[in-house]
């Protein structure tokens, strides 16, 4: 299985899912014209990754995974797909994978922090909230 790298655009986030290190990063803006089309690839990657973990145990070298959200904006349609990704993360955790989830937000952007809290609560996961200084 290969890493998934999707560069950012004005409307879509950067996606860096690095298989060698277990670091998954989504950052930038998420308001794709075709939101389902954009998230198909990351969701498929996570689905295959989860399947490989379930089938053969953690055969990757990393011990812990790290999920990083550093979004400056995401629209309401994107949030449903973020939830779908988080469900895969929750499944991986239930299979014994340690996953640290960091939710970055810009200084003073309480709304972005609350959005993270809402998402975390909806899927019953724990996020670390990190305020970025200007």
């Amino acid at each position: 299985m290969n890493s998934l790298i999707i560069p950012a655009t004005d409307f879509t986030p950067k996606v860096n899912f690095i298989i060698e290190t277990g670091q998954l990063e989504i950052s930038g803006v998420s308001r794709p014209e075709d939101v389902a089309g954009f998230y198909e690839e990351p969701l498929d990657w996570l689905s295959r990754f989860e399947e490989s973990i379930v089938k053969s145990g953690n055969r990757y070298e990393f011990q812990d995974m790290h999920l990083i959200f550093q979004l400056s904006y995401f629209n309401s349609a994107s949030s449903k797909f973020i939830i779908m990704m988080l469900r895969h993360i929750r499944n991986l955790i239930s299979h014994g994978i340690n996953i640290k989830i960091d939710w970055y937000y810009e200084e003073g952007d309480d709304k972005m922090m609350e959005d993270g809290e809402d998402l975390a609560e909806a899927v019953e996961l724990e996020f670390n909230y990190i305020e970025m200084e200007d």
Partner: protein
């Protein structure tokens, strides 16, 4: 283009960063809603160009007023009104519950929407979403949505 207009006028109107983010988020949600359902009124506005969608953002002493207008089919009015009334009559806890149920139900509207737009708007504005329907033509009404966004402390 409208989003760039807002960015360009940010300095002139001395919009604080938190307020700017609120306005930007609301604008995107409002405009995406209009765009998402535009195929339902594309033919209508070809025939009646006086009913083209409109968007306004005005500033007064209390804050900003965001208004959008677009044609809707008369048969869609009831569902739209009920959706907004439910949001307006919900307290913050109920709104949170609706948000949580909607975000986790895995359902999408026929136009690929998440069904979260009005909830998101109400959460950001912390005010009721005002709406009205005005007569247009040929089985269509003009749906007007007004959102008041109070000034935030700098």
């Amino acid at each position: 283009m409208l989003l760039h207009d807002l960015e360009n006028r940010r300095g002139f109107f001395e919009i604080q960063p938190v307020q700017y983010k609120k306005l930007l988020t609301l604008m995107i949600e409002v405009l995406e809603n209009v765009h998402k359902y535009s195929e339902y009124f594309d033919d209508f506005i070809q025939e009646y160009p006086q009913f083209l969608p409109e968007f306004e953002l005005t500033l007064n002493d209390d804050g900003f007023i965001m208004v959008s207008r677009n044609p809707v089919r008369k048969e869609d009015r009831k569902a739209l009104a009920e959706k907004i009334k439910l949001i307006n009559t919900s307290n913050p806890d109920e709104l949170k519950k609706i948000y949580r149920e909607t975000i986790t139900n895995g359902l999408f509207t026929e136009k690929g929407g998440a069904g979260l737009g009005f909830i998101e708007m109400a959460k950001i504005a912390s005010n009721d979403l005002e709406f009205s329907f005005h007569p247009a033509a040929a089985g269509y009404s003009i749906y007007e949505l007004t959102i008041h966004i109070k000034h935030t402390e700098p």
